[in-house]
């Protein structure tokens, strides 16, 4: 760690991992509810578990993004953070707001929570991923703006690298597009159309800038490859991201009431969306192959390569699989979507966060890398989580194909619930893969405390 103020990243990373554990626990609950429908009913109905699962994912990702910003911006700008104190205050505000929101979901009926939190004044709740009560949404905006203010001023007073600029653009975009979550017209078609301006323009737009900047930063550090080369790759990748991804939003506009021409725009542009992800894979492997130093943190290198591969498979390949309108006509809103969502989110965002944490946490703990045995444990957790996520995706894909065949094709289609009974085997297998994922996560956390064997590698 080169700058004292980078230390504020540490609580952000710890909170991120803690919330990640919560996300997976609720994922396991939901996975079990898929096979034993009345599990934990009525204490935790499926929709509540799902809100907790997806919202924790968003919040832990935001924690990790902010931690990444606080860690890498001072190092890139070659100056101390503008205000470490503000960063710590915002950390506690965000953590308490996040925790209260989850408690609210679990403790009171959603309609009561909505009434208590001013949803009748400005109705924003009850839409997928944007279920947060109004005060939480306002809190996210405040925390994001304070964070952006803090790191933007740091960049302004220091060295301005391309990595900082791309990261800032991505994070400002994140804040700006979140504002669409406050727009909820009573016309469902308009509601959905602009809901995607938050959801799609986040995950298939500006978040990819953040992902690219984080990956580029770690690759510079662990490979020692010339900054000019890495930043050139970064620009090409994110150029392709926005050139394909902005109009690619159209692949969500096929069946929600928007005009038919979106089937052409959405299909053509989103079919090109795998390109930047493929480039990301080539980029990661290329830089590691051309490395000019042997960084002792092998685990971080593995995570960086894994991010490239898994984001390409999850977002690129599984996304392409159902993005063309004639295919999407059958796959839309089935387990195929769930399969894609799981591998894409894990491969792109969970993994880039874990890459950053894997690189930065040892530094924040005063060493350049963990001991070899602790790294071996971390690499086991990498393989367990990654391989089990591949299997979760494959099982959900099988369930999805069967579901489409039984429910949407042929002359005598089955009802939704009858179809669900037919694909139960795959839901069981998915839950087992989920348990293996959880074992990987436990090993991951254990790797932070693992003390046996040789000493950690000095800074």
């Amino acid at each position: 760690m080169q700058y004292k103020s980078q230390a504020v990243a540490k609580p952000y990373f710890i909170a991120a991992i803690g919330l990640f554990v919560g996300q997976i626990l609720f994922g396991l609950i939901m996975g079990y509810q898929y096979v034993v429908g009345d599990f934990l009913f009525p204490a935790i109905p499926f929709n509540v578990a799902r809100m907790v699962h997806t919202n924790l994912l968003i919040v832990w990702t935001l924690f990790a993004f902010m931690g990444a910003g606080y860690y890498l911006i001072p190092e890139e700008a070659e100056t101390e953070l503008f205000s470490p104190k503000l960063a710590i205050i915002m950390f506690w505000i965000f953590l308490v707001a996040g925790a209260l929101t989850i408690v609210g979901y679990l403790a009171v009926p959603y309609a009561t929570l909505a009434r208590m939190t001013g949803n009748d004044i400005l109705a924003t709740m009850g839409r997928e991923f944007l279920e947060q009560p109004l005060p939480t949404k306002v809190g996210i905006v405040i925390v994001a703006l304070a964070f952006l203010f803090n790191i933007s001023l740091t960049v302004l007073k220091g060295r301005k690298t391309s990595i900082s600029l791309v990261l800032l653009l991505g994070l400002w975009g994140l804040a700006v597009f979140f504002l669409f979550s406050f727009y909820n017209p009573s016309n469902l078609v308009l509601d959905k159309y602009f809901w995607w301006w938050t959801v799609h323009l986040w995950v298939e737009g500006v978040w990819e800038l953040i992902l690219g900047a984080m990956l580029a930063f770690v690759l510079i550090k662990i490979t020692g490859v010339d900054r000019e080369v890495i930043e050139k790759w970064l620009y090409v990748i994110i150029a392709m991201t926005l050139i394909t991804g902005i109009i690619g939003t159209g692949h969500h506009y096929f069946w929600i009431g928007a005009p038919e021409y979106w089937q052409w725009f959405g299909s053509v542009f989103s079919a090109l969306e795998p390109i930047p992800f493929f480039m990301m894979t080539v980029f990661a492997f290329n830089m590691v192959n051309r490395r000019r130093r042997e960084h002792p943190n092998k685990a971080a290198t593995l995570w960086a390569l894994g991010t490239g591969v898994m984001s390409f498979l999850g977002a690129g390949v599984w996304g392409f699989m159902h993005t063309l309108a004639p295919v999407n006509f059958y796959t839309h809103g089935t387990q195929i979507t769930a399969a894609h969502g799981h591998m894409a989110f894990f491969g792109a965002y969970a993994m880039v966060n874990l890459t950053m944490i894997s690189y930065a946490m040892p530094m924040l703990r005063g060493r350049s890398a963990n001991s070899r045995s602790a790294q071996t444990l971390e690499m086991w957790s990498f393989w367990l989580m990654t391989v089990s996520m591949v299997f979760i995706t494959l099982f959900l894909t099988a369930a999805g194909i069967l579901q489409i065949w039984l429910q949407r094709m042929g002359s005598n289609p089955m009802s939704f619930m009858d179809t669900q009974d037919q694909v139960m085997l795959f839901y069981w297998l998915r839950e087992i893969a989920g348990l293996v994922f959880f074992v990987g996560l436990v090993l991951y956390i254990w790797s932070f405390f693992y003390k046996k064997g040789e000493a950690h590698i000095a800074a």
């Binding site: 009525p42 499926f46 308009l190 069946w255 005009p259 949407r408």
Partner: protein
């Protein structure tokens, strides 16, 4: 990548591409918003439909069901449920939840009043009339 292709060129492609395609997106959005009234039949959005959407949201229906294919995949598609089941069935179904059948997926009891049930049905009826380019493939959703 070749040496003649510089970082500055890559940066310019990024800025140029992003701005161009974002402007195109705005233009397409403008056209879409102009065209939508013919497709969403907004003249039929009554006060009851508006209240129904509010009930839909505040009970987090989308946490289990899909509507026009978006939401969770735990329970049936409801964008066309009005056409599949009809208003009376929908109301009776919601009133009789949860079924309590052991091992089966359960829907909570929301204790909606008759007026609220009517509003929810109006919302689902209006939704079922949106021009969705013939999605879903069949009545099962």
């Amino acid at each position: 990548m070749s040496e003649t292709f510089t970082k500055a060129m890559a940066r310019n492609i990024f800025y140029g591409g992003a701005v161009f395609f974002f402007l195109l997106f705005i233009a397409l959005t403008f056209d879409t918003v102009q065209t939508l009234p013919k497709r969403d039949h907004r003249e039929n959005i009554t006060d009851s439909v508006v209240r129904g959407k509010h009930i839909w949201e505040t009970r987090d229906c989308v946490g289990c069901h899909t509507i026009l294919g978006e939401g969770a995949y735990f329970a049936p598609e409801l964008g066309n449920v009005y056409k599949r089941r009809g208003g009376d069935f929908i109301k009776a179904w919601i009133k009789s939840q949860p079924t309590g059948a052991p091992g089966r997926r359960q829907m909570p009891q929301f204790n909606l009043t008759d007026e609220q049930l009517d509003d929810l049905v109006s919302f689902l009826k209006w939704t079922s009339e949106i021009n969705t380019n013939n999605w879903p493939p069949n009545i099962e959703g």
